[in-house]
């Protein structure tokens, strides 16, 4: 693809091994940066509050996003509704570093995602299986994350989505070459992306975990399952001691294979976000945008 797309994939590579944190104010953004966030996601309400408030959830006020851009030196991301081309144009106009076309907000289009190839700024999109991931990449996403179930503090869906993507990739890898055409048809994705996964055993873009990560152990679990980094949304600023928990999650992502260190990091973090089980929630955000 073109040079801009390569540069956008490259920025995601720089974020690897890091934690991207949801923040709603410049003060929170500074706490996140000082705790070791490799990027922040600027939004007016974190997913747990969006869930609690109900109603239509939209792109944040550009003024609020700009305040966060001025507060920190790390990359700043922000969310647009699925299919909302104009919201994405607005974020590009304020030079956002990454747009998250996100199921956390109310979808603006129930059929079409944004044609992300028409933009210069990069996009990250959620996926719960390989088909969704490759469709988003075909539309121009330069980074993928699991959908998980945002705002719940329950990691089960992020685990399910990561395991699903990985097992589908292993299946493609093990296929005969003449079987890939049918696989592309079944996944409803372009053949060349299927072929890439068959040859490389991985997505052509960086893949993070997101949705329901609340503890250092959750973050380490996702890394062990193959995530290249972690988004933490409600888990930090809905907890008792955000700065300490944020710093612990950052270290857990770096040393996700060291149980002794993880034990130390998990000590004394104060109260975790309360969380809701997937059976208790009425709205499954992961079902938005396939």
């Amino acid at each position: 693809m073109n040079e801009r797309y390569e540069l956008n994939k490259n920025l995601a590579q720089m974020l690897k091994g890091g934690v991207i944190m949801d923040v709603t104010t410049p003060e929170q953004a500074k706490i996140a940066e000082q705790a070791g966030a490799c990027a922040v996601m600027a939004l007016e309400r974190i997913p747990a509050d969006i869930r609690a408030a109900g109603g239509v959830s939209r792109m944040s006020d550009p003024k609020m996003i700009k305040g966060i851009q001025q507060a920190v030196s790390i990359p700043v991301m922000a969310k647009v509704r699925i299919g909302h081309i104009a919201e994405a144009q607005i974020l590009q106009a304020i030079e956002i570093d990454y747009i998250d076309e996100s199921e956390v907000l109310s979808p603006a289009d129930d059929k079409y995602h944004i044609d992300k190839t028409q933009f210069d700024v990069p996009f990250v999109c959620g996926a719960k299986d390989l088909g969704e991931a490759l469709r988003r990449i075909a539309e121009g996403a330069s980074m993928i994350r699991t959908k998980g179930e945002p705002g719940t503090g329950d990691v089960v869906q992020a685990v399910r989505h990561m395991r699903m993507m990985n097992s589908e990739m292993r299946r493609l890898q093990s296929m005969r070459e003449d079987e890939l055409y049918q696989a592309a048809k079944e996944l409803m994705v372009p053949y060349d992306l299927v072929r890439y996964v068959h040859e490389n055993g991985r997505l052509p873009v960086v893949n993070f975990a997101a949705g329901g990560v609340a503890t250092p152990a959750d973050a380490a679990l996702m890394m062990q399952l193959g995530a290249e980094g972690v988004f933490v949304g409600s888990g930090i600023f809905k907890s008792g001691n955000p700065a300490k928990r944020a710093a612990a999650i950052v270290k857990a992502v770096t040393n996700y294979n060291d149980p002794k260190l993880l034990a130390e990091l998990s000590e004394d973090l104060g109260e975790a976000m309360v969380g809701i089980n997937e059976q208790e929630i009425e709205l499954l955000m992961a079902e938005r945008g396939k």
Binding site: C38, I96, V250
Partner: protein, 197 residues
């Protein structure tokens, strides 16, 4: 010869892949226990310098690595790694230092300012990928300037310290990694031979 790659955050795996292509042995440093293995050179990768600076200190890596760098260990920093090696950092904190340069963080602005170009490095034209990159705003007399683009210094060397504002590990071109391996090999005792190229 073995190269250690700082792997607390960022694009460290890409450096490993470049060293594989050049046939050089390498391993990752994520915590103090990893320093027990001997190594002859160190790569500081791209990523977020604020994150690396913090994790280096909190994971007890800062002092032992600084001691090695100050003691002449060959070290190669790309992008964030350049910032870690700069004596002065505009818009950020000094980390290891050791190069008499002023690094300007996010010198090209946000992601829309990221770009790719082709310029000579020590006389040979190489592709250069800049991602929210810094550049060297000022360099002292001991610093050898190896590459410039748009009037700014983007690669430099001072003794055993090499730094680039761009990411050679994101291209197919192994010139700069080979340059670093040669640099590291020349500071080895005479009986150890250079395995790459």
């Amino acid at each position: 010869m073995t190269i250690a790659i700082l792997a607390v955050q960022g694009a460290f795996a890409e450096h490993g892949a470049m060293l594989d292509r050049l046939g050089a042995a390498h391993f990752e440093i994520r915590q103090a226990a990893d320093l027990a293995r001997p190594f002859d050179g160190l790569i500081l990768p791209g990523g977020e310098s604020t994150v690396m600076n913090k994790l280096l200190r909190e994971l007890d890596l800062f002092s032992p690595l600084k001691e090695k760098i100050d003691g002449g260990l060959p070290v190669f920093g790309t992008c964030a790694g350049l910032i870690l090696l700069a004596d002065r950092v505009e818009g950020g904190e000094r980390c290891f230092g050791g190069m008499d340069v002023t690094a300007r963080r996010n010198a090209y602005g946000r992601q829309l300012g990221s770009f790719r170009t082709q310029e000579p490095f020590a006389g040979k034209s190489v592709p250069m990928v800049f991602i929210r990159a810094p550049y060297i705003a000022q360099a002292g007399p001991e610093v050898e300037i190896l590459a410039e683009t748009g009037g700014h210094i983007v690669a430099a060397r001072q003794g055993n310290r090499l730094a680039t504002a761009f990411h050679p590990e994101l291209t197919e071109d192994t010139t700069i990694h080979a340059y670093f391996l040669k640099m590291a090999a020349s500071s080895l005792p005479a009986d150890e031979t250079f395995p790459g190229q």
